[in-house]
């Protein structure tokens, strides 16, 4: 089981938090802080596993994380998950984000956290891995996006126009902040279908 999925940046600002067990908001923040504290002080090029997410679960749990440019992707899992498998899952997740957002960067996650949640929901459900095949995930996400668009229809047009205008006078929306080396070496698990 996956107990929690957290994404935060190099300064510990949460970009996505998904807990598959209930905690109060305060505890959640504490977990995020503590996880950030644990993960951020680790060098690059050391192993991606950390034992004892102290707040979640207990000794059975592990933190498995990957660091991409400015973002940490942390999965808290118990012993029923394969460590290398989860590492690959993170990779699939990030690659999917990259496809869906076209060169994903931290800003995409900041402004479209709902979309990230929707993508994640196609991969992990209630703490269990639902789908690992990237093209399948993207197909489902896109189909739902299409539905959303068709529902918005004419009524949605003015709102879209407004948000387009709003975005126009914003110099701070640099696209293409690449998440950098997405091709961190993955232990080869090629047939992930």
């Amino acid at each position: 089981m996956i107990k929690a999925i957290l994404i935060f940046n190099n300064h510990g600002k949460p970009r996505l938090s998904k807990f598959y067990e209930h905690y109060t908001e305060d505890t959640e923040q504490q977990i995020i802080r503590e996880t950030f504290h644990l993960v951020s002080k680790r060098d690059e090029n050391i192993c991606n596993f950390l034992e004892g997410g102290l707040l979640i679960g207990g000794s059975d749990n592990k933190l498995i994380y990957r660091h991409y440019a400015t973002l940490y992707f942390v999965f808290c899992v118990d012993s029923s998950e394969s460590e290398l498998g989860i590492l690959d899952l993170i990779q699939v997740f990030v690659e999917t984000l990259d496809k869906c957002f076209e060169n994903v960067c931290e800003l995409d996650l900041i402004f479209h956290v709902d979309k990230v949640h929707n993508i994640l929901a196609e991969m992990v459900m209630g703490g269990m891995v639902l789908e690992t095949n990237m093209s399948e995930i993207i197909t489902q996400v896109e189909a739902q996006g299409k539905m959303e668009k068709s529902e918005a229809g004419i009524a949605g047009a003015p709102a879209r126009a407004v948000s387009a205008v709003k975005n126009m006078n914003l110099p701070e929306m640099p696209k293409n902040i690449n998440i950098g080396d997405i091709s961190i070496k993955v232990p080869n698990l090629p047939s992930f279908k």
Partner: protein
């Protein structure tokens, strides 16, 4: 309308959307909290608006704020509103918000049941998907119970997308509602062989999760998984299965034997490291389970270790880490094969990665031997010095202690070395593990007698240099060692060289800054030291030293008498008085030394930690019985405050000595000795007496002469390194001696026995530097061998420990929702409950009894079955996988209830329908075989409710009455045919009531319509249109196969049949199933109704093809659908005060009805009104009752029912007179038929 939409979207333009909110927060870095609070205010305003788009936008923003740590539970209701939007866009926002912040404590969650059910059966797969995803995050026991059946149906959905989600969510449902596991398991098992790999993987996932917690229940699936393992190419699935086998093998070693070969093949063939790693892991698990009894699998072990070595040597830190992790598993059973890789592991200790170092440390634990212990610990000590960060250093410290103390100090050859290590460890600043070191010091000093002299000297030095340890007492956990040091010095003070100096050190004013429990030990042991000093100077007349000591104590103790700590204060004042008294005696030149030493005479022996618990309860002693009568409630409350004081006592207190004069003390001591002599559980002080009470498990290692080749004392603070050197020298010397001896021996018996011992010296050759008497911990006699069950009682998985191989009993089925207050779901779901004809219902009473009997029998059966299963499994395991699966199938066939599975049929409007294989046309099925003839879930919750009602009534009155009961309560829906004679009920006070009325019938088919239509109105659509669901049972009466059934209704202005999008107004709907002979099934049709105040009749036709062996004909059946006004009422509970207010309001218009000749008890009457007309009783007083119901469009209907002498008068009020009139007419009809 269009204008409204445009206006709404223009409004929206000026609302902040999520992006604006995020942007705003980023622009207000300085006053973020303030900005967010204004945003929350805005959101609150937005939530008040009617426009669902605005609400959804607000909820979307709340979801973001929730992530930032803001509590948004106050908006839970709005979230539910957004969830129930008909637009997917909003629905998804709602469900996302719910999944982020709903939990079991959220009260509005119970409002979502119907909405979720509706979404689950939505024709749009993404509606269903979004509902499943959301539900997986916030499912509660109630939701699980109510929706289990719906989800189970979805497991056979046509779309794999839905199937895999439904399969996966079942795990959550099982956790919350364990009763669902057995009924749902057969279908889950089917899904293991689903054609879609995603669904298959989901099923494997769920079963693996289940099996991980309760593996023994899933052993019977082993052959199936074995087949999957050999056939699947999906690495995810393989990994899960292989992990599952890892959990199963300890329970079934023969499975392990089978596994080794395919796993080894996989290890050789796979290129995926994750798979390789899991294979190695499972092979290890297999080997562990086989380790006893199996000859040798050294090849496999070698393969594993070799593969792991490759992992550890890899440059990828992740692989290195996992390699070490797996290595530690091998270590437990095959330490030898790991020990040969010691170099590699020691190398990992230098790794820059802390996780890897920790793993390597774990491995070291199992790798130490007498030979290398000192060397390894030396290396660790170096790391301790180098370590940055207290966590890792503390980890090192505990590991060092663990390694040294493991299995009763087995590997320690030189305890002086160990004590010096401990003393060296005390120099660590800021460690949390002071108490750990302290307990080790105590342990060694108490249990290793030979070391006491050395230990005491070391401890005295520690005490003397206490200031070094107590730099900052508050933070510094290391001062705990002073506790041990003081105690050791006091207890074994006879070994002290200069007790006076130590005493002085213990009474320094600075001691008062130590924690209370340590001070207490100081004071107590100061008294012991005092006694020692006195004895030392015993015999010297007018000993200056002795008197000085007394004076020292008298001077210093008052400091402790003033201590805030009660324990310290009490001890100090006792001892102070004692010393004062002694001083007086000394001045009179009285010999006191003897008496004072007697105070602390006797020796302490170590006691096993569990000893107390293991004292057997003597026969005849009932610990649960009251000694005195229990005090009344109020008294116990009064006593509570007292407990507060008891808690304050420090934990580390030794038994206190009361302050009494010598004589009294002596007397008491005598009495105590007497008592102890008679008490078998008291642990005697002298070893000689211990032999008398030779308790089982207490073994004494004989005391051996101390080898004086090693100097017992190293001056000053010890350096453990010196010992290492000495040890090496000693060993070499020993070796040389031994060789000499061996040579002699060899010469003596040449060729007879050749020891292959030339290489490195083996374990046994190393003799300890000084053999020590390691006193084992004592246990009481007759200690109970039981060990505690370590299972956590709160583990949710405990409830899922269910035998899955047992055939399903009747009582085990998923609750199916009751027909009334709930919303639409797919037609198939209610198949089981409603398709059961009345005759079976009649039996239900009997069956229940039978169930109980069955329960009793079950345990017996279970045992038998288990035996059987074992046999079956044995066969399976021996046989080839293919065969195994075959037999699995036969097994299934033998237990038909588990195989009442679903065939998939698509329904045009809603969802997949499962065909019920149970035969409704054969209602008179043998009561002896209910298991075989009834579907797994015939008993719906509705039935249960009814039964409960019945039982209640039975208790009230045991009347014998015969009732003729008509199932037809509508006027004339089907002409003459419609009147169906009810069954004759015997001895059942409350007749069963059915909602089904005959709709139409011919020689081929019978249609029954449920009278209480499912009613709901769409939220957001408000008053203008309501939907009514009609469920119709189709029963095939002929011997032929019925197919291509099409259902059509002529729409009226007011009521229309809902047809799928794109269909014309006159198109017919295809019934989503076919009917084999004698089978019945249920379909549901949705109608939209404008006005509900009048009853409606709709004409309809059913066309179908009758297919027999020879021919097929096209047939047609006409029917009339009757919508009563009653069917628009929803049972709604109402509190009496609200009810009174409603009546007072004056908005309601009245009407009344009089029924004559009603010959039934009043509660029957009420039950009928409740059941057939959807009312609930608000209040009942004698023969008068008030009742309430509400229409789907919000009309209140109130009834006042009175009865006297077969006459019933009903006064009714409603805000819609014509609705009321019609309802009353219908009530009248109901009773006119009685």
């Amino acid at each position: 309308m269009a204008l409204k939409i445009v206006k709404g979207s223009i409004d929206r333009m000026f609302d902040k959307n999520l992006q604006d909110l995020v942007r705003g927060i980023r622009n207000h870095k300085d006053d973020e909290a303030k900005y967010i609070s204004t945003c929350i205010d805005e959101i609150k305003q937005e939530l008040k608006q009617d426009n669902i788009a605005v609400k959804a936008n607000a909820v979307c923003k709340l979801t973001y704020l929730q992530m930032l740590g803001y509590d948004v539970s106050w908006a839970a209701f709005n979230i539910v509103e957004v969830m129930s939007s008909s637009k997917f866009t909003y629905k998804r926002i709602g469900y996302l918000a719910a999944s982020q912040c709903f939990h079991e404590g959220t009260d509005v969650i119970m409002l979502t049941t119907n909405q979720i059910r509706k979404d689950l059966s939505s024709p749009n797969q993404y509606d269903t998907g979004v509902a499943l995803t959301g539900l997986s995050c916030f499912v509660t026991p109630d939701l699980a119970r109510d929706l289990a059946n719906d989800i189970m149906t979805l497991m056979s959905h046509t779309k794999p997308y839905i199937r895999k989600k439904a399969v996966l969510i079942m795990y959550k449902v099982f956790l919350k509602y364990p009763e669902s596991l057995r009924p749902a398991f057969p279908r889950l098992k089917e899904k293991l062989e689903d054609p879609d790999p995603g669904v298959q993987s989901a099923a494997v996932n769920v079963i693996c999760e289940l099996a991980r917690r309760n593996p023994k229940n899933y052993l019977s699936l082993a052959p199936l998984f074995f087949k999957l393992m050999t056939s699947s190419t999906n690495n995810w699935v393989l990994i899960k299965i292989i992990k599952l086998f890892g959990a199963l093998t300890p329970l079934e070693p023969r499975l392990g034997k089978k596994l080794i070969e395919p796993l080894t093949n996989l290890i050789h063939s796979t290129s995926a490291m994750s798979l390789l790693y899991e294979c190695v892991n499972t092979v290890i698990a297999v080997l562990i389970s086989l380790s006893s009894g199996m000859p040798n699998h050294s090849a496999s072990i070698q393969l594993c270790v070799q593969k792991l070595r490759i992992l550890i040597e890899d440059s990828d830190q992740n692989l290195k880490y996992l390699g070490l992790l797996a290595m530690s598993k091998i270590l437990k059973t095959h330490p030898k094969s790991v020990q040969s890789h010691k170099d590699l592991i020691l190398q990992c200790l230098d790794d820059k990665d802390e996780s890897i170092r920790l793993r390597a440390l774990d491995l070291l634990y199992g790798m130490v031997s007498k030979k290398n212990l000192m060397e390894i610990v030396k290396k660790l000590m170096l790391h301790v010095d180098k370590a940055e960060g207290t966590t890792y250093r503390d980890e090192l410290l505990t590991k060092i202690i663990d390694i040294c103390s493991q299995s009763n100090f087995q590997y320690i050859t030189n305890f002086e070395w160990y004590i010096s290590i401990l003393v060296e460890l005390t120099r660590l600043e800021g460690t949390r593990h002071g108490h750990l070191i302290a307990s080790q010091m105590l342990d060694v000093a108490i249990r290793v007698k030979a070391i006491r002299g050395f230990a005491v000297a070391q401890m005295a030095t520690l005490l003397d240099n206490a200031h070094l340890l107590t730099g900052n007492t508050q933070r510094n956990g290391i001062c705990e060692v002073l506790y041990a040091a003081a105690w050791i010095c006091g207890e074994f003070s006879e070994h002290l060289e200069d007790p006076m100096q130590t005493l002085e050190a213990m009474l320094r004013p600075k001691v008062a800054t130590l924690p209370g429990h340590i001070q207490a030990v100081y004071v107590q042991n100061a008294a012991k030291l005092f006694a020692t000093v006195l004895r030392k100077h015993d015999g010297e007349t007018e000993s200056q030293a002795a008197q000085e000591t007394s004076q020292l104590l008298i001077d210093r103790l008052p400091l402790f008498v003033q201590s805030a700590n009660l324990e310290v204060q009490e001890r100090a004042s006792c001892i102070l008085q004692l010393v004062k008294y002694i001083q007086k005696l000394q001045q009179k030149n009285v010999e006191v030394a003897e008496e004072v030493t007697a105070l602390f005479a006797g020796e302490l022996n170590p006691v096993a930690p569990k000893a107390q618990k293991k004292v057997p309860i003597p026969e005849g002693l009932d610990l649960d019985a009251w000694i005195n009568e229990p005090p009344s409630e109020s008294e116990s409350e009064d006593e509570k405050p007292k407990a507060v004081f008891a808690k304050e006592e420090p934990k580390h207190s030794r038994s206190r000595h009361t302050e009494v004069d010598e004589k009294e003390l002596a007397r008491r001591r005598e009495v105590r000795k007497q008592e102890q002599a008679n008490n078998p559980f008291y642990i005697k002080a002298s070893p000689s007496s211990q032999k008398v009470y030779d308790a089982p498990g207490v073994e004494h290692i004989p005391v051996v002469q101390i080898d004086l080749s090693v100097p017992l004392k190293v001056p000053g603070m010890p350096m453990s390194d010196q010992y290492l050197k000495l040890e090496v020298e000693r060993r070499q010397k020993e070796k040389a001696e031994r060789k000499k001896k061996e040579k002699k021996k060899k010469r003596e018996k040449r060729g007879k026995e050749r020891k292959a011992d030339s290489g490195p010296e083996s374990e046994e050759d190393i003799t300890p530097a000084h053999q020590v008497d390691i006193v084992t911990e004592e246990m009481p006699e007759n200690a109970l061998p039981s060990d505690d069950d370590d299972k956590d009682p709160n583990d949710p998985h405990k409830a899922l420990d269910i035998d899955l191989d047992k055939p399903l009993a009747d009582s085990e089925k998923l609750p199916v929702r009751t027909h009334r207050p709930e919303a639409l779901k797919s037609p198939a779901e209610d198949r089981d409950s409603e398709s059961v004809p009345q005759e079976t219902k009649k039996k239900s009473g009997k069956e229940k009894k039978k169930d109980k009997e069955k329960d009793r029998k079950r345990s017996k059966e279970e045992k038998k079955k288990k035996k059987k299963h074992k046999e079956v499994e044995e066969e399976l395991l021996e046989s080839q996988p293919e065969e195994a699966v075959q037999s699995e199938e036969t097994k299934e066939a033998a237990a038909p209830p588990t195989s009442t599975s679903a065939e998939e049929v698509t329904a045009p409007s809603s969802a997949a329908a499962a065909v019920d294989t149970s035969s409704a046309a054969a209602p008179e099925s043998e009561p002896d075989e209910p298991k075989d003839t009834e579907p797994e879930d015939t008993k719906s919750s509705k039935h249960k409710k009814k039964k409960q009602k019945k039982e209640k009534e039975e208790k009230e009155k045991k009347k014998k009455k015969r009732h003729h009961h008509h199932h037809q309560h509508h006027s004339d829906a089907g002409g003459e045919d419609s009147v169906q004679n009810g069954t004759v009920e015997e001895e059942e006070p409350l007749p069963p009531m059915s909602n089904y009325s005959l709709l139409a019938e011919n020689s081929y088919i019978k249609m029954m319509k449920e009278d209480a239509d499912q009613v709901y109105d769409i939220q957001g659509n408000h008053q203008d249109e309501s939907k009514v669901v009609v469920s119709v049972i189709f029963e095939n009466k002929s011997d032929s196969f019925l197919k291509s059934m099409e259902f059509n209704v002529l729409d009226s202005l007011n009521s229309k049949l809902q047809r799928p999008e794109g269909a014309g107004a006159h198109d017919s709907l295809t019934v989503p199933f076919q009917l084999p002979p004698g089978v019945s099934n249920e379909a549901r049709f949705v109608f939209s109704v404008q006005s509900i105040i009048m009853p409606q009749k709709l004409k309809g036709t059913l066309t179908f093809i009758v297919k027999s062996d020879e021919s097929s004909t096209h047939e047609k059946l006409d029917f009339k659908l009757h919508f009563t006004c009653t069917s628009y009422l929803i049972t709604t509970p109402c509190y009496s005060d609200a009810y009174a207010k409603l009546l007072e309001s004056g908005d309601l218009k009245g009407s009344s009805l009089r029924l004559e000749g009603i010959n039934m008890p009043f509660h029957h009457l009420l039950a009928r009104i409740c059941f057939h007309h959807h009312f609930s009783v608000v209040e009942r007083i004698d023969s008068c009752a008030s009742m309430y119901s509400r229409s789907i469009q919000g009309h209140h209907v109130c009834l006042l029912v009175k009865t006297s002498d077969q006459t019933v008068s009903i006064d009714a009020k409603c805000d819609e007179p014509s609705l009321l009139g019609n309802v009353l007419d219908e009530i009248k009809q109901t009773f006119s038929k009685c």
